[in-house]
């Protein structure tokens, strides 16, 4: 930022940019904006990726090292605590931009690498270090022998729209955000469009809820707009409770202003004046940045009373929620905001009629909202131009598991799952073969090898019996036991059930018992227990169908998905567990059968002494034996044997 005072910058940005409809044509402004946005710099700018993923990888130490380096060498440079550009695997990422030159991005910069990195780069030398590439720029001089970051295989196949500014701008700089085109859509919206028109535009764009439901966002908004009430509320669902995804939190941490802008537009569109962002309290960094961003927006007069002299009033409040998976369900979320137990209530009445404090309320998730300013700025047609006939726009995923490159990725709707895995993710990370992709816990869907060419599309997924879910994308290799995974999912649902309705409360517990029976060996295998086990399995499908059919909320309805899909795609694996009592992936440790290698056993009696059920016989200094009928498969002998004489069959 230049030497101008912050007040001057504010006045410039508000008067000449936000409130001036002619700004797009004014070329002269562009240069000024590029300095405010950080596209161009007067002095060296060092940007450290310090979203949660960066911090876990050690970015704080890196940041400290850079700070120390700068003060030791008395270098005047801007040091920015940045966001995540999506490539979490490459963290800590350090970007450096020198005046007049294109921005460089380096990966895996731990604190010990700071000195050599800065020694070189600040002297205009490209160091021999892992680099993601340089940013493309028409204004600045490009580096030689440095690839472009957008050609990096991880980014090349992505279509960054929502992630556009993530990891690029200072997340808590309202001036940088405005200079990059932020809040323009909002000021245009309130000066040009009626709320009804906003609903039209969003509906025409084909934007559908990204929380998993896929319901038309514009239609939902209109329901609330058409309901007359003295008070309405807009709620942003930032609970993100899926245990396999964190992209919503990542984009809030990296670009909180976009969420605020989106909420302002959405709140205006339904005729409300108060918006809540319901976010889990543990997301400390996201909350910190969101609150800082809100404070800035307030200081700029963009939120609050009589916004930029328009007569529009919108108050945005960050609500720090307590943790419960069910808070992701909209009626439960509303109860939680009201200070109650987050128990879903039956619909109808829908929240658009009677939600928070019985007033019309719309709940949208973070990713859905992130699209809104872009649609308002570029038009419904622009949004429609990407994606498939049914599903428009892009989709974010948290790519993780046995894949070479991972992080937050954004691809246009219509991309195949195989492409995300191979092109963006770079294929399998382990030498084991691909088994399946798990989409979020809500959908409980598996993309197996034979359907890898399925497109990311609500309908295409429905055709293969899957659902998009919230955006988790966990790649599994052959080392994963699908029965165990289904058990894990069921255990999760049992733990997270709110306990209100019978099918979810009692049913998940019963399903879990069946799954536990399949993946473990009872200590005493009475014939009636075996009979019960088989009886349970026989009832499993029927029980799952009833739970799906009768549960009160979407959490309950989706709780049997993982089991149903396992039975569909991995029936054989399930049967092997059940009838042969074996786990091919060797994950269900209870099913292991142990034996002693007579050659290797020295007769040390260690296993004999430790066996909890006296299943090992033998005399000292002679090889021992395991009585299979007595063995409970606890693995104690395997652990205590110093001679690798205990084998797993």
């Amino acid at each position: 930022m230049s030497s101008e005072s912050t007040q001057d910058v504010r006045n410039f940005l508000v008067d000449q940019i936000l409130l001036d409809p002619g700004r797009d044509a004014a070329v002269a402004l562009k240069k000024q904006l590029s300095y405010i946005s950080g596209d161009r710099v007067h002095k060296p700018m060092i940007y450290v990726g310090m979203a949660t993923c960066g911090r876990i990888a050690g970015a704080e130490k890196t940041f400290k090292a850079i700070k120390a380096y700068l003060s030791d060498h008395q270098i005047d440079a801007d040091l920015v605590e940045g966001g995540c550009n999506g490539f979490c695997q490459a963290e800590p990422i350090v970007d450096i931009q020198l005046p007049g030159k294109a921005r460089l991005s380096f990966s895996h910069i731990t604190d010990d690498l700071v000195q050599p990195l800065l020694d070189d780069v600040l002297n205009n030398i490209i160091p021999d270090m892992p680099a993601l590439g340089q940013y493309r720029s028409q204004l600045l001089q490009q580096w030689e022998q440095m690839p472009f970051i957008d050609e990096h295989p991880y980014f090349k196949h992505q279509h960054k729209v929502l992630l556009e500014l993530c990891g690029v701008i200072d997340p808590v700089s309202v001036s940088a955000y405005i200079a990059k085109g932020g809040y323009w859509a909002f000021t245009d919206t309130i000066s040009r469009y009626t709320p009804a028109r906003v609903c039209d535009i969003i509906e025409n764009s084909g934007l559908a809820g990204r929380g998993g439901g896929g319901y038309s966002t514009g239609k939902k908004w209109r329901l609330a707009l058409q309901t007359t009430s003295d008070q309405k509320y807009f709620v942003c669902n930032a609970v993100e409770s899926d245990p396999g995804s964190y992209m919503n939190r990542a984009i809030i941490e990296s670009n909180p202003h976009r969420l605020i802008e989106a909420l302002l537009i959405a709140t205006y569109a339904i005729g409300a004046t108060k918006a809540f962002i319901f976010i889990r309290k543990e997301f400390k960094l996201a909350i910190e940045r969101l609150e800082a961003a809100l404070e800035q927006a307030r200081a700029y007069g963009i939120t609050g009373h009589h916004i930029l002299d328009s007569g529009v009033n919108i108050e945005v409040v960050v609500k720090k929620g307590a943790r419960a998976f069910v808070c992701g369900e909209e009626t439960a979320l509303n109860s939680s905001i009201e200070g109650k137990r987050a128990m879903p209530s039956s619909k109808p009445p829908y929240p658009s009629e009677s939600g928070l404090w019985s007033k019309p309320t719309i709940v949208n998730n973070v990713e859905t909202l992130f699209n809104v300013p872009l649609i308002m700025r570029n038009g419904a047609e622009w949004f429609q131009s990407s994606g498939t006939d049914i599903s428009k726009g892009t989709k974010l995923f948290t790519l993780s598991g046995s894949v070479k490159r991972y992080g937050t990725v954004e691809v246009p709707m219509g991309t195949t799952f195989g492409d995300i895995l191979d092109k963006v993710g770079g294929g399998m990370s382990s030498d084991k073969e691909f088994k399946a992709i798990v989409l979020g816990i809500n959908s409980g869907s598996y993309i197996t090898k034979d359907i890898l060419d399925t497109q990311v599309d609500f309908d295409a997924l429905k055709n293969v019996g899957a659902a998009l879910g919230s955006g988790a994308f966990v790649v599994l290799d052959q080392g994963v036991c699908m029965v165990d995974l289904a058990r894990f999912f069921t255990a999760f649902f049992k733990k997270e059930s709110c306990g209100k309705c019978i099918p979810c409360r009692e049913g998940t517990a019963r399903m879990l018992e069946v799954m536990e029976n399949a993946t473990s060996r009872p200590s005493e295998n009475h014939s009636f227990q075996t009979l019960e086990r088989f009886k349970g399995v026989m009832q499993l499908k029927g029980l799952a169908a009833v739970i799906k059919d009768t549960s009160l909320c979407s959490l309950g309805k989706s709780s049997p998905n993982a089991i149903l899909n396992t039975l569909k795609h991995f029936k054989e694996e399930f049967d092997t567990h059940l009838f042969e009592r074996k786990c091919a992936a060797n994950v269900c440790t209870d099913l292991r059968i142990f034996s002693i290698d007579v050659e290797a056993c020295t007769g040390c009696t260690a296993c004999f002494k430790k066996c909890p059920v006296d299943a090992i016989i033998g005399s000292p200094r002679y090889p021992h034996f395991i009585v299979e009928e007595k063995c409970i498969g606890c693995g104690t002998c395997y652990d205590v044997c110093k001679f690798n004489a205990v084998l797993i069959k």
Partner: protein, 575 residues
């Protein structure tokens, strides 16, 4: 607006805005429910009322779904029936299989449902939740193992009684209805009204049973068991046994209990009359002294407990008179014992009432004197049936007998106080008797036209008008008290408060009844008795006049003086 819907291929008409369940039940379709409560908003928790609606992907709960023109509903499709049956089977999979030992055996909604759904084998096996029963309270026992989490008790405790002594604790499969910190009801804010027992579909909430205690006393030759029969209990019994109007309700009961080995059977209505007269005297003092605010009735122990717990600012407004149960217990153990040369500690008094809170009341500290309780045990009407059954008594074959002197009779008002409004009228009538010039004036107690909206009236005595009001349920009491306080009204002099909906006719100790049919039937029985009764008011009851002739101050001499004093105090248990 009237609309048409199609149910099981039959056209039926409905009114827009009604829920599907209301319409279906009105037309005779049997829809099972568990969490549904009349007059409460639907929660949709039990899912038992699901039906299939054409065009809907999932089954829908009829209790919460409004009817729509032309909707096609199936209430008994294969899918619906399988769902309902599975839900019951799931409940049973986490339920103790001890119906034979269960106090609600034969009266249990879960049992009925299992029977209706034709559940004939255990389908789901698995671990049952580990729970601990809570017998810490003096009145209400809880067994969470039998709880189906329908939320009816939680809602009545919170929304009707404003107490929230119990609530859902924890989450998911571990959810339990419990008191704060799982500490037990004895240290909770429970006011012992027992409304939760009334709404509980299973035996998760029951009363602390005194049946065995009473049986032991009956079998003990050293103890003289004296039953104190609340007229409300006999009226309730009459409803259960479908007795014809005009039959002597207490008479048969007296005979039955004697054959069980009772020493004496007394009419608690006698003490009710005394209580009325005393309360009217206190009211006269209250008005004459110009005390602020109306005087509040104190005959309902749950209400008294509520005031002590939540509204200690009203303690001074409670009428300082003992309730009829404790009044009679006192008289029996003091005056009666003295006159008949009996040792008080050999007398075992048993209250028989439609009230659960009476159990708690009998255990209150000030109602025991140097180890001697005024009332030793209290049987609710439910327990009375258990006792009689245990002794093999067939009530129809028992001939009427009279209750024992000197507490053998009561006035019509002893019955009238069983439903809301009766007590207010009784006290008004006595106040009138004390102050009015009976030659020139006649007593008029005009009931308002719509008692659902307004429950107060004015009684003219001489030149002055006195306001009398009556409310039942704490919610009603609270909102009424707030209303008159906010409006700064000083025209209401007496408020009758009954903690149970509809008064004692809807009491927590009554036989379990869903809805208002049975309480209304009990009220009708009481009204029938009143019509044929010779003593139209407490004072017209000759025995009462005799009592006051003997004890001018209303208090018999000696020991009873201290015993008869009613004491209230602020309590700081969990609010």
């Amino acid at each position: 607006m009237e609309i048409q819907i199609d149910v099981n291929a039959k056209q039926i008409s409905a009114v827009e805005g009604e829920t599907l369940l209301t319409v279906l039940r009105k037309h005779g379709f049997k829809i099972p429910t568990m969490c549904h409560m009349n007059r409460f908003s639907p929660t949709g928790a039990c899912r038992l009322c699901v039906v299939e609606v054409e065009g809907k992907r999932d089954l829908i709960t009829s209790c919460s779904y409004p009817v729509e023109q032309g909707m096609k509903v199936r209430t008994n499709s294969q899918r619906v029936m399988r769902a309902r049956k599975s839900l019951v089977e799931l409940l049973l999979s986490n339920h103790p299989d001890d119906c034979l030992y269960c106090v609600r055996n034969g009266h249990c909604e879960l049992q009925w449902l299992a029977e209706e759904m034709n559940v004939k084998e255990r389908k789901y096996f698995g671990e049952k939740n580990a729970t601990y029963p809570d017998y810490s309270s003096t009145s209400v026992a809880r067994d969470p193992a039998k709880c189906v989490l329908c939320s009816r008790c939680v809602r009545i405790c919170e929304e009707v009684q404003l107490v929230t002594a119990i609530d859902f604790i924890s989450r998911g499969n571990q959810t339990k209805v419990n008191s704060a910190f799982n500490q037990g009801l004895n240290v909770s804010s429970c006011i012992h009204c027992g409304q939760c027992i009334q709404v509980c579909p299973t035996a998760a909430l029951t009363d602390i049973s005194h049946v065995e205690k009473v049986q032991a006393a009956l079998g003990n030759p050293r103890q003289k068991v004296v039953f104190l029969i609340n007229p409300g209990a006999s009226a309730s019994m009459a409803v259960e046994l479908k007795w014809k109007p005009g039959e002597n309700l207490g008479g048969r009961l007296a005979a039955a209990l004697r054959s069980c080995g009772a020493f004496r059977v007394f009419d608690m209505g006698y003490a009710t009359d005394l209580h009325i007269v005393e309360e009217a005297r206190m009211l006269a003092t209250h008005i004459r002294a110009g005390k602020p605010g109306p005087m509040l009735s104190s005959c309902c122990p749950a209400w008294v407990r509520y005031v002590e717990e939540f509204r200690s600012d009203l303690l001074d407004n409670l009428a300082p008179v003992k309730s009829s149960q404790q009044f009679l217990g006192t008289l029996v153990k003091t005056v009666y014992a003295h006159e008949n040369k009996l040792d008080a500690d050999t007398i075992f008094t048993v209250g028989v009432t439609p009230c659960v809170a009476n159990k708690y009341e009998a255990s209150r500290e000030e109602n025991t004197h140097r180890g001697i309780s005024e009332v030793d045990a209290v049987l609710t009407v439910r327990e009375l049936f258990h006792l009689l059954r245990a002794y093999g008594l067939e009530m129809k074959q028992i001939d009427e007998e009279l209750m024992d002197e000197p507490f053998a009779t009561s006035s019509a008002f002893a019955y009238k106080v069983n439903y809301t409004g009766g007590k207010a009228e009784a006290v008004a009538r006595e106040l009138f008797r004390i102050w009015a010039d009976s030659d020139k004036e006649t007593f008029k107690f005009n009931l308002p036209k719509n008692q659902a909206i307004k429950r107060e009236t004015r009684v003219k005595i001489g030149e002055r008008e006195f306001g009398f009001a009556w409310v039942s349920s704490i919610e009603e009491a609270d909102s009424y008290l707030r209303e008159i306080a906010e409006e700064g009204r000083d025209d209401i002099h007496y408020i009758e408060v009954m903690a149970c909906l509809g008064g004692c006719a809807g009491g927590g100790g009554q036989p379990i009844s869903r809805g208002f049919e049975k309480p209304l039937a009990r009220k009708r029985i009481c009204q029938d008795v009143e019509k044929g009764h010779s003593a139209k008011s407490a004072w017209e009851h000759a025995d009462i006049r005799a009592y006051y002739n003997k004890n001018k101050t209303g208090r018999p001499a000696g020991q009873a003086d201290e015993w008869l004093e009613a004491r209230f105090r602020e309590r700081t248990d969990l609010k």
